[in-house]
Point group: D2
Chain length 171, copies 4
């Protein structure tokens, strides 16, 4: 369920171009030994945002007999640290999709940007252990998000180019 | 402690250029709901390999009063899935270092390549909450690993270029 | 922050005697390899409920320089399994307190009882690495919850008796 | 695979009566925000010890189509704290078995006792979602460990009595 509201966008200075978001709060178990939120916690948040985003488009994660996303690549850049109890907003959007894969961007916000991530996902039938074409209805939903079809025959560099583009501030 | 041996290199077809490695075995708690090792488990393995690598160079993770690595960026590409009990070798090396940061590559092997990752780390004093220069002795150790000094004034693209270079097979 | 409401109590058939509760939803990362919520997830939920309960009484978990709870013993019985996305209510209450320790009960509810747990906690100053007396104001708050002072000189059996008492259905 | 040796028994002062054990080392990701090993890490260790113990008796955790253990109850008492990198031995043994359930004891050792735990497990066919009788060959293996048949018709108190018995020092 999309939890992104104009009030949250204003409060956390979420940049334009995000239409889907979840809220979360850093748990005690999310901390590392120095009381900072572990770099893996952001990836748990991305995962929950991805699952909720796909469910909102009509494709919930159901069982190993129904195709769903598998991570092929992921990246994250960390701009600021977080502590116990900190409330955040996690945003998610699709950037491109191919025949059996798609690219998503994620970000974590708390009164400004905390972290950015992206992932290349495969649409995968787990029981059959094989990738399957993205459903048309899912692609249509992703188009609403601004994503466009991109041939997976493109050289890898162009796929990964999304990472450097979305991280200009970290240069 | 470095666990990499010629026998492990041969058994797991570890490519040339890696000089440090740990072994691990996938735990039941490492699995996701479809019985595959979670994409976050590889990052736990990278973390343990990084800590052991730095300890082997004389810089163990001790306390918040002693500088250590903080993750600024990380990326991982997943080539094959793993299941419960699978034994793996995790390799780690430094690729470059700057004044207060350094870049590492990681890989997971099991009779061939399983995953590749890389990270940009900041040398950080947690109690003071500030980055500090890399000790000369640490840089000397990293040089043995093949790493060279790289100005952090370089544009971000050149820093991230390591990712696409180390992932040619995934193009 | 206490999230327990009469509506939640009715919906989830929460038995009388609980005055504090949180809500949570099972995440994908909470599942084990057979798609059931791991038995450790309930303990994460208990931990968050404990921290929120203590914060509501004026004793938030702040830093290693401020006393807080350390687990001395814990137990949990699991009545029903949970799956991905299941929403739950976690209730918490203090059952007894001594000079430097206290006993809490927890339960997880989803349209009926899911699990019960209890813990013996020490009030602990982490930096000094020593147990310290429970503050009077905290004990006063625990009394509102129905807890009474119990000498920690009592034999262990009487302390643990709480476990069998709170699990009559599992006999 | 059983890793318990006379040398480990001597080094870690492991008491008589344990015949199966694993070794582990506390990871950075096992720590809580105060740099102590989380109370949930011990339960991960118990889980790995349980799985290895059952595998050693010929009943490895294979898939949802083959019966395996499900946790019905667990308890743990924590005697001492652990820090990053600490090496431990985890011991496991069966204390009793019934028709479809069994009780195990666990302990963590590091130059003395660190923690004790126990669990009541159900032998469970996950795909069918039903408990099934313990195989005779498994019961025979458990007998070698000293476990005896116990009717599950017994009152709960007698089942749980194992907890206080195995924790005399904590009274």
């Amino acid at each position: 369920m999309n939890e992104l509201t104009p009030a949250l966008i204003a409060e956390h200075q979420i940049e334009a171009g995000w239409h889907f978001g979840l809220t979360a709060q850093a748990r005690w178990s999310d901390l590392d030994g120095f009381s900072h939120v572990s770099h893996r916690t952001h990836l748990v948040w991305f995962e929950e945002a991805r699952n909720a985003y796909l469910a909102a488009l009509g494709f919930p994660l159901v069982s190993a007999d129904v195709p769903g996303p598998v991570i092929r690549e992921l990246a994250c850049s960390y701009e600021r640290s977080l502590g116990f109890g900190d409330g955040v907003v996690i945003t998610a959007r699709t950037v491109w999709f191919g025949r059996t894969s798609f690219g998503m961007d994620y970000a974590v916000w708390r009164q400004g940007l905390v972290a950015r991530g992206n992932a290349i996902c495969i649409w995968f039938h787990n029981r059959a252990s094989s990738k399957v074409p993205l459903p048309l209805a899912l692609c249509d939903g992703m188009r609403l998000d601004g994503a466009a079809f991109r041939s997976t025959q493109a050289p890898r560099e162009s796929r990964l180019f999304g990472l450097s583009q979305t991280n200009p501030a970290a240069a």
